[in-house]
């Protein structure tokens, strides 16, 4: 990872900047984030304060974890569209089971669909070679259907948000959101896994050249199954965190996060074709998207115009970023 400091004859300034950016893809992303915050401060002087920052981070975290699922699956050339459903399911089951069950039992019940859907995704993609887009879309629809059936059985008992989750999701201690207690170890684990473990290496290698990994003795289905189960587990945990933040269980709780999670990973520099990217960029990508949403909200535009603008900015940012980073 070290970048050798070879001083070559004077290179044009623009080109030097470009090379610097290409070596450290995080830098342009952070610059973009800062620019967005500055614009926000100019439009609404005084909005950027401690509370606003804590709030932004709180909302960025569930997005960032789901975007972690996308980052890991995209590294292998896949995608996981079932994360929204999985998060919703675990949140909904947690909120309804906690009424009558011990918290640990409720937790296990809530994570069950996550494991199941992850396993099915993994086997479908890894063994039967279904395209990940279709596979995860399919399991996502099935999961939503099951959840609707489940809802009828618990309609009488009602739902409640466990205090611990509410504390974790919305609480702030000494100016820091409590959710960071969950997120920082989780993010560190993902970054470490991708960079320093055999499994992480295999994700990159499989996405880059599956044939080569096969010839090196890698069994594709093992990697893919482990990957989609991990992705689903992360999504399930996100669901629990998110219900603590939103505090209103519904059948489409986390669904609106799915496509932004893909966008965050792409903005963060992960290639949708596999083999390239990393989680740190994704985290900044999630922050950028969250700030962007706030920005568009305070512009007081009609919802339609806001969405159009959102889409345009995401496209523009991604294209510009790839242009900066890929020095060819």
């Amino acid at each position: 990872m070290s970048t050798s400091a070879i001083t070559s004859p004077p290179v044009p300034f623009g080109r030097r900047i470009k090379r610097f950016m290409a070596d450290r893809p995080l830098v342009p992303l952070i610059i973009l984030l800062v620019i967005l915050v500055v614009i926000l401060q100019i439009l609404r002087p005084g909005i950027v304060n401690e509370r606003w920052i804590a709030n932004t981070i709180k909302f960025a975290i569930p997005l960032a974890i789901l975007a972690g699922c996308q980052t890991m699956t995209m590294l292998t050339g896949g995608i996981d569209l079932s994360v929204g459903t999985v998060a919703t399911m675990s949140a909904f089951i947690m909120a309804t089971q906690i009424v009558n069950q011990d918290p640990s039992v409720a937790f296990l019940l809530a994570m069950m669909p996550a494991v199941l859907i992850g396993l099915v995704n993994g086997i479908g993609v890894g063994v039967f070679r279904v395209h990940p887009l279709i596979m995860t879309l399919g399991t996502s629809l099935i999961g939503t259907g099951c959840l609707q059936v489940y809802q009828r059985t618990v309609i009488a008992s009602g739902a409640k948000i466990p205090d611990f989750l509410a504390w974790l999701g919305t609480g702030v201690t000494w100016g820091f959101p409590n959710a960071l207690l969950l997120f920082i170890p989780l993010a560190a684990l993902i970054v470490f896994t991708l960079a320093r473990t055999g499994f992480g290496r295999l994700l990159y290698a499989v996405g880059d050249n599956e044939r080569a990994t096969r010839l090196s003795g890698v069994q594709y289905w093992q990697v893919i199954t482990a990957l989609y189960v991990t992705s689903s587990l992360l999504a399930g945990i996100t669901g629990l965190l998110y219900i603590g933040l939103i505090k209103a269980p519904s059948l489409s709780l986390a669904e609106p996060l799915v496509l932004p999670s893909v966008a965050a990973a792409v903005i963060g520099g992960t290639s949708i074709f596999g083999g390239r990217g990393g989680y740190t960029g994704t985290i900044v990508g999630a922050l950028i998207l969250t700030v962007l949403t706030t920005l568009l909200t305070i512009l007081q535009m009609p919802e339609g115009a806001r969405r159009i603008l959102f889409g345009l900015i995401v496209l523009f940012v991604t294209a510009a970023y790839l242009r900066i980073v890929e020095e060819r």
Partner: protein
């Protein structure tokens, strides 16, 4: 075969044809002249330029220089359609019907008249063809015959057949040859590309021989001419090369009682038949074959990439069945494919590429012992002298360095047996030398190497023994002392050692397969 004594003007006359790809000349100065009523063989070793010439004649690519006359008229063949209009029609090795359409739709697509097509299909020995069958459901051998019938139906002046009889069962092949011969009788011409002397001697009137992109000779097919053709294909290299005596350090270790790998009657589909040989510890065994004679399947089967359909593979005396490359790797057998893009994760670093096999097994998915890995990788890099200036991404390395990385991976993993498939193709001379040296060193350390090469001169530099395969069968196993280039070339064309005999004996289909046991 009609031999017309009158001097005729050629149907097709190409001369001075050249084609460059960048700085590489695929074709320098090729000429080909085909008379009416003639079946003309086009021959040449791997990389001599046969396929380039064929592509130019059929309009698939355009030449940089040269002149093509058809019936004495200069024609500019810019596209396959233009070639067709000029009366030149190819039948390629790969079936060309669109798989998802039925035969009739395929005919309509190319404007082929249906009735003549039907007649030719019957003529070629397929009685029960339903034109409504989808091409996908038709067996490969029949598809090839349909391709031929489709070409015959439009009555081309010059028919170009590329390895027409490969993958055909004997009865169909016979019919095909008969029909091709009759084409000649009716005043048309056929250009016949084949590696099989038996067919060429039975069918062709003359042969044009290419070497290094140039036409080096046109010969009449008479008994005994195959010696002459082999000479032409080899050119000046015919002088028997001196087998360098290997130094004591390089000498193979004394052969142990039990072979490292023993292959018995290995069969893979229709591509590989009944191949048996041993690979011992401490030796480099060469494999020599023309393109597509079953060597790809042999290596893939040994590497666990495909499952053989018959025969046995024994490793250290016990039979094995590989269902995934990991099984072969566990048995200490590593495969270095000929195509580097098949072996490397191009966007990843040299280090990650070399260390890839370390992480493969489930139990190694945890944290990587970075220091240990670094040491192993560095020693492999040093051993192969990989230029690591651009090590961040393998795709930025030169071809030679990329090839070294594919080998370094298995040096680092300490594989006992390495299957090297044409590792020196398309890399610079210096790197080639280093790879030869490395393979010898490996053998010196008691490892075993199976080494397929498309360059015959490499055999004597590297190998202890040579296994020659032709048409999916073992032709012969040579000790390296006898494996000079002419002998290898002859064997690669299915002519067994010592058989300077005339074509009559060679026509016996049994003789090429009777290889001598090691």
């Amino acid at each position: 075969m009609t031999t017309n004594p009158l001097p005729q003007s050629p149907l097709l006359d190409a001369s001075g044809v050249a084609k460059n790809y960048g700085a590489v000349a695929a074709l320098r100065n090729a000429s080909l002249s085909v008379l009416p009523g003639e079946v003309h063989a086009l021959m040449g070793a791997n990389g001599a330029g046969k396929s380039t010439l064929v592509k130019i004649l059929t309009g698939a690519i355009s030449a940089n220089a040269g002149r093509i006359l058809i019936r004495g008229e200069a024609r500019d063949i810019r596209s396959p359609a233009a070639a067709r209009r000029a009366g030149l029609l190819p039948v390629y090795q790969e079936p060309s019907l669109i798989p998802d359409l039925d035969v009739l739709s395929n005919l309509r697509l190319t404007g082929t008249p249906v009735e003549p097509f039907r007649a030719w299909v019957r003529e070629l020995g397929i009685a029960d063809l339903d034109l409504r069958d989808t091409a996908r459901d038709i067996p490969l051998a029949v598809l090839r015959v349909l391709d031929l019938a489709r070409a015959l139906a439009v009555e081309p002046d010059v028919l170009l057949l590329d390895e027409m009889t490969a993958a055909l069962p004997a009865n169909l092949a016979e019919k095909v040859l008969e029909v091709v011969r009759r084409q000649g009788d009716s005043g048309r011409a056929v250009i016949f590309i084949s590696h099989r002397f038996v067919e060429i001697s039975a069918l062709c009137d003359r042969a044009t021989v290419l070497r290094d992109g140039e036409t080096v000779g046109v010969v009449d097919i008479v008994p005994g001419v195959e010696e002459k053709i082999v000479e032409l294909m080899l050119g000046t290299r015919i002088v028997k090369t001196h087998v360098a005596a290997r130094g004591a350090a390089e000498k193979a270790a004394p052969a142990p009682a039990r072979p490292r790998i023993a292959v018995h009657n290995l069969r893979v589909g229709t591509k590989l038949n009944d191949v048996s040989f041993d690979l011992r510890d401490g030796e480099v065994a060469g494999v020599v074959a023309l393109e597509g004679q079953g060597q790809d399947e042999l290596f893939a089967a040994l590497a666990g990439s495909i499952r053989p359909s018959g025969g046995t593979i024994e490793v250290d005396g016990s039979p094995v069945k590989f269902s995934h490359p990991i099984d072969a790797i566990r048995a200490g057998i590593a495969y270095v494919p000929g195509d580097r893009s098949e072996a490397l994760a191009m966007q990843r670093s040299v280090r990650e590429n070399i260390a890839l096999p370390f992480s493969a097994a489930l139990r190694n998915w945890g944290p990587i012992p970075m220091r240990r890995e670094r040491a192993k990788v560095l020693s492999a890099i040093e051993r192969l002298q990989i230029d690591t200036r651009a090590q961040g991404e393998v795709q930025r390395l030169s071809g030679g360095n990329q090839q070294k990385v594919t080998i370094a991976r298995w040096i680092a993993a300490d594989a006992r047996t390495i299957l090297c498939f044409d590792p020196t193709r398309g890399i610079d001379v210096g790197t080639k030398q280093e790879i030869y040296k490395l393979l010898r060193e490996l053998a010196g350390h008691g490892k075993s190497v199976l080494f397929y090469t498309s360059e015959l001169e490499e055999v004597q530099r590297v190998c202890d023994r040579v296994i020659v395969i032709f048409g999916g069968r073992l032709v012969d196993i040579f000790p390296v002392e006898e494996a000079d280039e002419p002998a290898l070339m002859r064997a690669a064309y299915g002519l067994p050692r010592g058989a300077k005999a005339d074509i009559g004996i060679l026509a016996d289909p049994q003789s090429p397969s009777s290889g001598t046991a090691p």
